[in-house]
């Protein structure tokens, strides 16, 4: 019991100490390691292969960033550690120093910018609607009186809810426990549509029994800039990360990574997501910025 308390106290003290020094570059240099926050199942952006291994567009980008940091700091060896994070714990884990750089599927928004900093946007997510191909639904207006599935703990349906009020569309919200469950709701006919990030929909459809039974339709409900997240008030670290990303954009490496993860067969099932680079993502790359979602909405 005493040992547990001692351990707990140490952890708390370390957490506090980390939170206090925002000099991430020094921390990485001193410890010879960087901790990257990764997601277990964020579609092709970041996912686990099991056994503590992570892959995906953003995960591989984070590895490249780590390699650039290693070069910049002149380290002969940099230990890259992974910490799985969830949408509930990712911000606290970045704040308390457990995670140095979180590259998953975190939307850069104004509320979060009060707590953390974001690298330049590397992927722009478009929230879309997936339905059965034979349902005849092609737009939001047709969702009137229908059941719309979404995943518990995501913001997607919130956009639809706001949209609905203006357009006079009334639908019933049903919630899946996770993306796979929500898709099962659509597949088994318990929901008529599934509203979610485009790349997650594309990924789920590509892995389903009959991908041709489903399609992604309708207007883009919202546009969300997705970016790597790091501690606030550490301009040197942010600059290092941003420079690394901008360099990848300039050399075309980021486009190659995108092609690798979104257009080619990827593990574990060796299926293609098949989501071509969107105009929104292209323009984010053309003018690298860390603008929050709210500024996208203004346009």
């Amino acid at each position: 019991m005493k040992k547990t308390l001692l351990a707990l106290a140490t952890v708390l003290a370390l957490g506090a100490a980390h939170a206090a020094d925002a000099d991430t570059l020094k921390k990485i240099k001193d410890s010879g390691s960087i901790t990257i926050g990764a997601r277990e199942s964020s579609g092709a952006l970041s996912f686990t292969l099991g056994d503590g291994k992570y892959a995906g567009f953003h995960t591989e980008m984070a590895q490249r960033i780590a390699a650039d940091l290693q070069k910049q700091l002149g380290l002969s060896k940099l230990d890259v550690k992974y910490q799985p994070v969830t949408s509930q714990n990712r911000i606290p884990l970045v704040q308390n120093g457990t995670v140095d750089l979180e590259c998953g599927s975190t939307t850069n928004n104004a509320a979060r910018q009060k707590d953390v900093a974001f690298a330049v946007t590397t992927y722009v997510e478009e929230v879309r609607i997936a339905t059965k191909a034979n349902s005849g639904i092609t737009s939001i207006a047709q969702l009137n009186g229908k059941k719309v599935a979404t995943t518990t703990g995501t913001t997607s349906v919130q956009h639809l809810r706001k949209h609905e009020r203006g357009a006079g569309v009334n639908f019933e919200e049903v919630y899946g426990k996770d993306h796979a469950d929500s898709f099962l709701l659509l597949e088994s006919g318990r929901a008529d549509a599934f509203v979610m990030d485009g790349q997650i929909l594309a990924g789920l459809i590509s892995k389903s029994k009959n991908p041709s039974d489903f399609k992604i339709v309708g207007e883009v409900l919202s546009v969300e800039p997705i970016a790597c997240m790091m501690r606030k008030d550490d301009p040197a670290f942010k600059k290092a990360v941003d420079d690394s990303i901008k360099n990848m954009i300039k050399t075309g490496d980021l486009a190659k990574l995108y092609d690798k993860w979104f257009m080619q067969p990827i593990p574990p099932a060796n299926t293609k997501v098949g989501l071509p680079l969107s105009d929104a993502t292209k323009s984010a790359w053309a003018n690298p910025n860390d603008k929050p979602m709210e500024e996208y909405a203004k346009k």
Partner: protein
């Protein structure tokens, strides 16, 4: 951190109601699922528990099979079986609202536990009670009705109280099949508002109030039915 923002509950969800209103409706769902499931659980659980103590081998087998089946499968799996698997075998069940399915899933799961307690309560009575009842010329159902059950049920009130409180807490799995109850509200609202600490504190308080209310009601019942001189009761 550290700065509270309780006004988050007065924000609009985008659908024309505030988060507070949504939370109250979620609380209503939690209570409805729990209370209805508790009725299902008490009725089937008592029945199965009694069956297991009857002299008939067939009846005891039915009671045992029921109890072991529902006791040995995790609750979440049972919920999914009721929601996704059984309706795809028996197609008419597709039109049954998920609320009803969850009430039965949660009720049957808990009934297995109540059956175990009722059986233990009946078996804890001296065997002579049953013989005395039968020797008086009572039929077996009468012996249960007038001799065994009045004592057994008084004995099992405390574990039944725990089970009734558990059902409130277990009702949180209903979020997995899209019942808009408290846990689902908490996960959804914390993501939409980025104010997880306030949301979870409020939801925790509501769970506490609900389970504690059940506890107090059970205590009241326990006091009311006490009979001096009987096991478990009375001054």
């Amino acid at each position: 951190m550290g700065t509270w923002d309780w006004q988050v509950f007065l924000q609009d969800t985008g659908g024309g109601q505030t988060y507070l209103e949504w939370m109250m409706s979620a609380w209503g769902w939690t209570l409805s699922v729990s209370v209805l499931a508790l009725f299902v659980a008490l009725i089937t659980g008592s029945l199965m528990g009694i069956l297991r103590t009857t002299p008939s081998k067939t009846l005891a087998l039915i009671g045992n099979a029921w109890t072991e089946l529902f006791r040995n499968v995790p609750l979440l799996v049972q919920i999914f079986v009721w929601y996704h698997v059984i309706p795809s075998i028996f197609l008419p069940l597709r039109s049954v609202p998920s609320f009803i399915l969850v009430v039965f899933a949660l009720g049957f799961f808990t009934s297995a536990r109540i059956s175990e307690q009722v059986r233990a309560g009946i078996q804890s009575l001296p065997r002579g009670q049953r013989y005395a009842g039968l020797a008086m010329g009572l039929t077996l159902p009468q012996t249960y009705r007038y001799v065994l059950l009045p004592m057994a049920f008084r004995i099992v009130i405390p574990p039944l109280t725990s089970e009734s409180m558990n059902i409130i807490k277990n009702s949180s799995v209903a979020f997995a099949v899209s019942i808009a109850e408290l846990t689902m509200f908490a996960m959804q609202a914390q993501e939409e508002t980025s104010r997880g600490i306030e949301v979870y504190l409020a939801v925790t308080a509501l769970y506490f109030v609900s389970a504690f209310a059940i506890n107090r009601i059970a205590l009241f019942v326990e006091r009311r039915v006490q009979v001096p001189g009987m096991i478990g009761g009375g001054k």
